[in-house]
Symmetry: C2
Subunit: 479 residues, 2 copies
């Protein structure tokens, strides 16, 4: 379909059809396109620029903590994938298999990496000899493939971009500390950079990563009350080290197994940004990672001095903020709609009357609040407004989560709260029995999301069986 003229088109209202609203934003904000490669997406320049900013910010954080980037092959021979039994059981059903190179059949088929633990382990076995070689703190930015049946842009795609950290440590304690440290990095990044409040917690045993001893995750609540697992961090113990025969000589020159972690986050976070912050006018991007933080729009640009004033504002801002000046001949109204769709955090309007009064108008995207600012105060006002956008976005997301978090003591209470208030997080106690975990999901529709680090006792009985409770669990419907 070819349209002659690009319009800022209406999108489906989020209250009418949240799923359609989501897809509309992905397309209309120029984040993605589809192709003939089923289940995969094209990430367009605007979407990719968001990913680049996420990458840059996280990569700096990782490197400050001593991590180094590496690149592993994208293929995994079948025999290598099979070395750790839980791991292969978890991933084999959903990998893409390469069977031919050119016209020749391979003697052993290889999968496209769904994750690279097996490759890292093989490499670690080669390069780790003594305690002096530890820790190894590695990270990789790459794409991975998982053959999903049902796909959605950013949230679940057959190919996605991610980073995967893989570290090796002399002691279990050190590896456990790394696991928690990286979970905290993800949580802090979500709160400080993405303006998304998250719950940090451990996954229940049935929900652990294939091969992990413990899996931790951060869980965010989307606008519609569904939960999104936004990043994970795993403690492997020495399970993979034993399977791959990775040993090192300790200070007493005894050969022992090292302890391992892995941790990752993906382009799925862009889906989280859309569903946490977006509204019926389109995307809302947190200032920290917005490709354009400030857009300047001249009003009645044909009037004397307006274009020059807009350019002067641009020149003053562009050194400190990611700034765009739109002096095209589209109408201001069209531009407002276009940049609201794209979620630019702050808009600067300047017209003849503003010029006369020596001022301009700043409009924050997330709440459309207008502030009139003296031109001489411009830089400080823009910095202040961007911080206000971040804070406002975070507060709004937190308020949504709080209004949709229900503390419950019985199955009936869960069902009633969800029916009354819609989807959300349910806080309820659990005895630790996987059967109760399954039963809660079966009866209420919400599954265990995580066992939060911040434990509290909201009842002394399991919400399901009434036996003594062991843990507070967050339950929810998950993307």
């Amino acid at each position: 379909m070819k349209n002659d003229k690009k319009m800022v088109e209406q999108i489906t209202s989020m209250d009418v059809d949240f799923a359609q609203w989501y897809t509309d934003i992905c397309k209309k904000a120029d984040l993605i396109d589809y192709s003939s490669v089923k289940g995969c997406m094209i990430i367009r320049p605007y979407g990719y620029a968001i990913w680049e900013n996420i990458q840059k910010t996280l990569d700096t954080r990782f490197k400050e903590l001593g991590h180094e980037n590496v690149y592993m092959p994208m293929f995994i021979p079948e025999s290598l994938l099979q070395k750790e039994k839980d791991h292969v059981a978890g991933f084999a059903p959903e990998v893409a298999w390469v069977t031919h190179g050119g016209s020749e059949k391979l003697t052993e088929r290889m999968c496209v990496r769904p994750t690279s633990e097996t490759l890292f382990c093989e490499h670690f076995a080669n390069i780790i000899r003594s305690y002096r070689d530890l820790p190894k703190l590695y990270n990789q930015w790459c794409s991975v493939v998982r053959w999903e049946k049902t796909t959605r842009p950013f949230l679940r795609s057959r190919e996605f971009l991610w980073q995967e950290g893989h570290t090796m440590h002399a002691t279990a304690e050190e590896a456990r500390n790394e696991t928690i440290q990286m979970l905290n990095v993800y949580a802090d990044f979500h709160e400080k950079d993405l303006a998304i409040p998250v719950i940090k917690g451990a996954k229940t045993p049935s929900d652990k990563f294939a091969g992990a001893e413990d899996t931790y995750a951060i869980e965010a609540l989307m606008h519609d009350g569904k939960a999104l697992q936004a990043a994970t961090s795993h403690f492997f113990g020495d399970g993979f080290a034993r399977a791959f025969d990775i040993t090192y000589a300790d200070k007493e020159n005894k050969l022992v197994y090292p302890f391992q972690t892995s941790w990752g986050c993906t382009t799925r976070m862009i889906g989280g940004i859309i569903m946490t912050h977006g509204d019926d006018n389109g995307l809302v991007i947190p200032p920290s990672i917005a490709p354009i933080q400030v857009v300047i729009i001249p009003v009645a640009a044909h009037k004397e001095g307006v274009t020059e004033a807009a350019e002067s504002i641009y020149n003053r801002l562009c050194g400190n903020f990611r700034t765009k000046l739109d002096n095209s001949d589209n109408s201001p109204g069209w531009k407002y709609a276009e940049y609201e769709m794209k979620g630019i955090p702050l808009r600067v309007e300047i017209g003849p009357r503003d010029l006369e009064a020596g001022q301009c108008v700043l409009v924050t995207r997330h709440n459309r609040e207008k502030t009139i600012v003296k031109l001489e105060d411009l830089e400080a006002a823009v910095a202040e407004r961007l911080q206000a956008v971040h804070d406002g976005m975070y507060a709004k997301a937190l308020a949504n989560r709080e209004s949709r978090t229900y503390t419950c003591e019985t199955i009936e209470e869960i069902t009633a709260k969800l029916a009354e208030n819609g989807d959300g997080f349910v806080r309820a106690m659990w005895c630790g029995d996987p059967e109760c975990e399954d039963k809660v999901k079966e009866l209420t529709g919400v599954g265990s999301r995580c066992i939060p680090m911040d434990q509290e006792t909201v009842s002394d009985k399991c919400v399901c069986c009434g036996r003594p409770a062991k843990k507070l669990v967050y339950w929810g419907k998950a993307y």
Copy 2:
């Protein structure tokens, strides 16, 4: 094989066995490792840090020229690959085929991208409607796969990292300008950042990219006299646009075909750095992209004040240069050898006697020249020395190329020059007949590398057949 202690081991001398010397450097400088994935390499932290610096520098240049990054799927359905007949003929024999997703056989097999023209074309057909949508200036950083029989780290690997630019223009002239502009970007990057002199030229018709109207390349001469194609830039005309039905409405609202380019460079450039600048002590990295530009080594660190002085030097330099202080308990001699192997451009030595004299010693890696510098002049001296390293490396590479460039008028002369002086570039005239091109290679071993942009007439006859010559051609043995 596990060694108890890491040593700075001897590498094979480049004059004894250049190929083995190359492989030794790749391994001993910790650039790569092998795995059970045949024909692929692991890029280790030090090698990947070089690639990250290359990426950062090139990406900045691309963006300054208006290019935007995107991400396309890594798979190409067979029917899509087949849309442009020359293209599929060129690539189909060397692609990896995915035939199964999980346990299910795919209804249509897909290859892992060997290059992404077909995917970009399909996308361009979707998003280009009018002349207002042009130009599209896209770039992608990713990995690609080509099923090579014989592989060598960085130079020829089944999977490699690269960038691929894909642009669409309203006119052929604009697309031609883009093709040449990007060729110039690559050439400038090689000379200014990698200290590698290059010849810019067009490929002969038999050597063009599959589907291109014209292919341009930069060719560098390695230390052993063999040529390396370091980057390519292609003008596609409207051939792909016609095959993929990409049209746009021009200003008269007539549907016409746009014109296209693509251009790319790869991790192969790291191979070029090794073979241009390396020596028997190891790698030599150009300062612009060196992960560590300056290494500080305290001498007799147990003597009073030495450690503090080394730390003070580190603190003064680390803000402006990528600096490392090695205050481990390895001997200075061991450290010298280690950082020479790793190719750090500049070494700062400071010992008790230097301290007394208020000075330190700067040693440039490429020629081991020592400069004694007053401590108060440190920052300026380091900046000057790094520039001297770059200039010296470039001059050395250029001198090697000049001493190995032979202008010849007959086949006999080519054979004699190569026998007498060893491999190198042969400059000789060509009539334009592909048969002569093949015959030169058959008789002398050197194939056409490029038709240089800077044309000259060194004879009026074809070096092969004696008929009137059309072009000066650079000939050589290629990696």
